[in-house]
Point group: D2
Chain length 326, copies 4
Amino acid sequence: MNSFGRIFRISIFGESHGKAVGIVVDGCPPGITLAEEDLEADLARRKSGAKGTTSRREDDRPVFLSGVHQGKTTGSPIAVMFHNADVISSDYDMFKDVPRPGHANFVAKKKYEGFSDIRGGGHFSGRLTLGLVTAGVIAKKIINPIQVKADLLEAGGEKNIDKAIQKAIKNNDSIGGIIECRSLNMPVGLGEPFFDSVESLLSHLVFSIPGVKAIEFGSGFKAAAMTGIQHNDPIITLSGKTKTNHAGGVNGGITNSNDLVFRIAVKPTASISKTQHTMNTKMVKMVDLEVKGRHDLCIALRIPVIVEAATAVVLADLMMINKTIS
Amino acid sequence: MNSFGRIFRISIFGESHGKAVGIVVDGCPPGITLAEEDLEADLARRKSGAKGTTSRREDDRPVFLSGVHQGKTTGSPIAVMFHNADVISSDYDMFKDVPRPGHANFVAKKKYEGFSDIRGGGHFSGRLTLGLVTAGVIAKKIINPIQVKADLLEAGGEKNIDKAIQKAIKNNDSIGGIIECRSLNMPVGLGEPFFDSVESLLSHLVFSIPGVKAIEFGSGFKAAAMTGIQHNDPIITLSGKTKTNHAGGVNGGITNSNDLVFRIAVKPTASISKTQHTMNTKMVKMVDLEVKGRHDLCIALRIPVIVEAATAVVLADLMMINKTIS
Amino acid sequence: MNSFGRIFRISIFGESHGKAVGIVVDGCPPGITLAEEDLEADLARRKSGAKGTTSRREDDRPVFLSGVHQGKTTGSPIAVMFHNADVISSDYDMFKDVPRPGHANFVAKKKYEGFSDIRGGGHFSGRLTLGLVTAGVIAKKIINPIQVKADLLEAGGEKNIDKAIQKAIKNNDSIGGIIECRSLNMPVGLGEPFFDSVESLLSHLVFSIPGVKAIEFGSGFKAAAMTGIQHNDPIITLSGKTKTNHAGGVNGGITNSNDLVFRIAVKPTASISKTQHTMNTKMVKMVDLEVKGRHDLCIALRIPVIVEAATAVVLADLMMINKTIS
Amino acid sequence: MNSFGRIFRISIFGESHGKAVGIVVDGCPPGITLAEEDLEADLARRKSGAKGTTSRREDDRPVFLSGVHQGKTTGSPIAVMFHNADVISSDYDMFKDVPRPGHANFVAKKKYEGFSDIRGGGHFSGRLTLGLVTAGVIAKKIINPIQVKADLLEAGGEKNIDKAIQKAIKNNDSIGGIIECRSLNMPVGLGEPFFDSVESLLSHLVFSIPGVKAIEFGSGFKAAAMTGIQHNDPIITLSGKTKTNHAGGVNGGITNSNDLVFRIAVKPTASISKTQHTMNTKMVKMVDLEVKGRHDLCIALRIPVIVEAATAVVLADLMMINKTIS
């Protein structure tokens, strides 16, 4: 459910317009330097404010509740919360009966029998990823010297991202994007057969990021149209480096020392200013819907740092698991 | 590791050329009719023998060790094994020092310090999916009336699959393929926030199938180039049916009553008859490698039924979990 | 580690003298009425202040961070924290090198390589049970009509508990006690074979309460000296009521509709005013130690409500798991 | 359910009169020497045949299905099964409607809606512990140099065990017993706060052994009547050795380098030759019941080696988990 990981284990909580969102990181080794400042860079990258992102601004100041003492992790669970300061909940009242297209409103209402807090997306909000970014900062320290770097490759189908955003702003519309994540300095041997392959765990965590609809490793979908002789990844060094890295750094679910490479597709933000049609479930008729509120026009802009966090969390867990058999 | 699921929980064991491969299914409700015959159809679909698949033939007869009594599941773990009868292990001796391109040989040797059983791919072999197909047969009974159906859409980049295979046979080469899986009669509400979204769990299990390199839900990678107004999925019926199903039947990680639709890419089989180059790690030089043995030229031909099994297993678990809050 | 449960799952965090202690409850059904007032009675029972308990007073005011909206649980994780207000950390400086007898100081230092926060017992403090009591309040609502009631049967070896405490006060010493927990209105069928018997899960959680050193179900240790004809529990009603309940309400690890009965032993509080000897690990010599600070003379006085909470949490989880096969 | 452990993880399957019972051990490090002969001694200790044990004899020959290659563990799951050869199932027909006192028949029938296989106790049978002993043999190799040794201290309330058994034989009755388990050469630091204390995990696994009704660590129940000055465990060596070991080798849930000591109570075998009364649930009246079949008069005789196995399994898991933070 709201936990992930076997040794380096994260548990997430919170609703967008509740008191706070946060995360508990269990299983973190003791003695890791950790201060609020360490989170600043990644939290800033996740933050809204750039063109194409929501105008909602929150301090996003992490409050460390436990697990850190005298600037170091203690080995006990690290709980970090973020207060939800800037909340305009009245925006969301109408969605109870008029589910927004592309949103979790409808399914959440059905699943939780009307008791879910739908304000701001509630527990389904992208705001929950604050905790994931926090865990990512810690995980990145654990996996050092592995370096994880994700970038937005294109948005709205264009490589010129600024241009794509200008066009979307003009149209009162939203756009998606493609993000590539690349991890360098990879060791051989991360990943577990059968069910906990690197691809299995990474995709599991990456698909929990709101808006992600696809993932491919290495050649990905292109591999389906290649032949064996084209795709095969001959090893050319003793340490396991291969000629092509069509495999994206993974063979048999286990890292092979080449860069770990995957790409994801992020759908266009569901909330748009443009008028849409949807069902009013109370009146049982289609109605026009104008979504006010403050939203991201291109959520994909904010997701690279979250994908990095997800990757680092998975790799940290796998590195720690690998130690158990050494 | 080798287990998956929270309530309907599967654990897999075995090596390709060991004594047996098998599965233990825990958490299965009692009273479900289950006989060897129930497995026949799906095991046959997984079987080799068709053009483009390996000439290795095994009876693939399931032996029920526990959990079934008088033709019904008992509620205790269902253990099923498949003897490995037709084994020519000498084929594999040379791969200890000459890792096959695109295979798990190299990473397995490194990870398990030389102790892994590499014969026939060992624990990384596609033969392990026999257990998964078995669990799928049971899961399909649990999720009824949901119907899961997967098909090979294209192979080697061609929609004419026979033609693609003929071409590959002629070239002593292998090819990949794209498989689509579609689940009908879906209820609203399967999937758990935050980390156990339907997409998270499905991708987790699907990427454990050897050869899978990509997955996309609904519009998938195409969504990245769409705008919100194009992609959004307006609800048009009280039960949650949407106009486009661009979302592939999932909003916010939770099923929305539309068909659950995803596609996966399967890479070309790594083992090919054509001569390849690779590193001889003992001699520390590149050598020519001819892979004998019997292999699938297009493993994607055999994967649809395995993808169905993975899907059914995930949905069965989620349906059972949903009952806990009802 | 710091999580417990399969469906109704609790994760605990915090250190005694850190910013806060708390709990995250995942898997709770939506729609359960829950307010701060609901916690008052059980938190008060856990509180210090009575004769024989520590003079440390904290408001113990729960702060609900998530999972409750408009007075009802939402189905998403319920995070509750308790600020640590009344903290005198200087008391604990000396224990770094002079581990208190009977305490976790020494093992924590070794295990976490000196990085653990030992102030007030840190993450090992009984204060962590605030979260457990909170989860217990929620669980008690779920398991209704089951009623869980724990009582202190004896302290310091005496049935007259007041007298035992007076004696201990006079001697500057501490005492242990025996607590019995009894659950009424039990259904048949809670508990899972093989490893998740009711006794297994209850003992697992109960032994996580600081100070517990023994547990017995039904006749417990006395059963070892009985014969089969004496101990056997003949069923005398259709609903499963037995003649003797020597089994404590459990057969084969599964509840049998009789009262679920177990007793635990709580050791005397380790921190006492009396001078003790211990090793100064820096000076490598035995020294006299006087433990100042404010401590419970009989921690067993505060534990009944915590045992109830542990029991309710286990039963809630098992009841929810039982629904998965219905 | 039928799995236990986080890294060194065991999954059990089988019914007493089904085809086989067995175990899957996941997470075992590669390269451990393992042969059928290694199991002989412990399987023999578990075996029936001595005075006071059942006359049911089975070869109890382990069949290794996977995970061992060329005499060493491979790192993939180790599946071991034991065929059920010597089965007289007709003995059990009558218990469907006439639940045996002290047995799981009644609860199993209710829980699994009549579908459970009750022959020979089915999945609740002590025969399932064959798998646990197997896992114990492997675990003992992992935890070396820790030595685990369990002994029957008394049976039927007498220290003279032979005499107690003679008396029970004469009376057609059964008796219980008390077993002590002691682990030597313990390191500091095994066990996890908060919920995975050594006591929590050991009791969890030990209570899954059929017949166990109580457990106490160190002074156990006696601690409840002691004072702090009597019970406290002053450290007297740098490595953590204490003066008294009243704590049984555990402080704050974590091993402290002293011997790990606990005792358990085993109830008298429920199946006895003596006539008993019970409810015939079909006729709804009390009836006389004579249990034929072959049973242990003192099951406690066979349990020490199973307790050792449980202890070794827990310690192996904790040792492997400890490596993750080193």
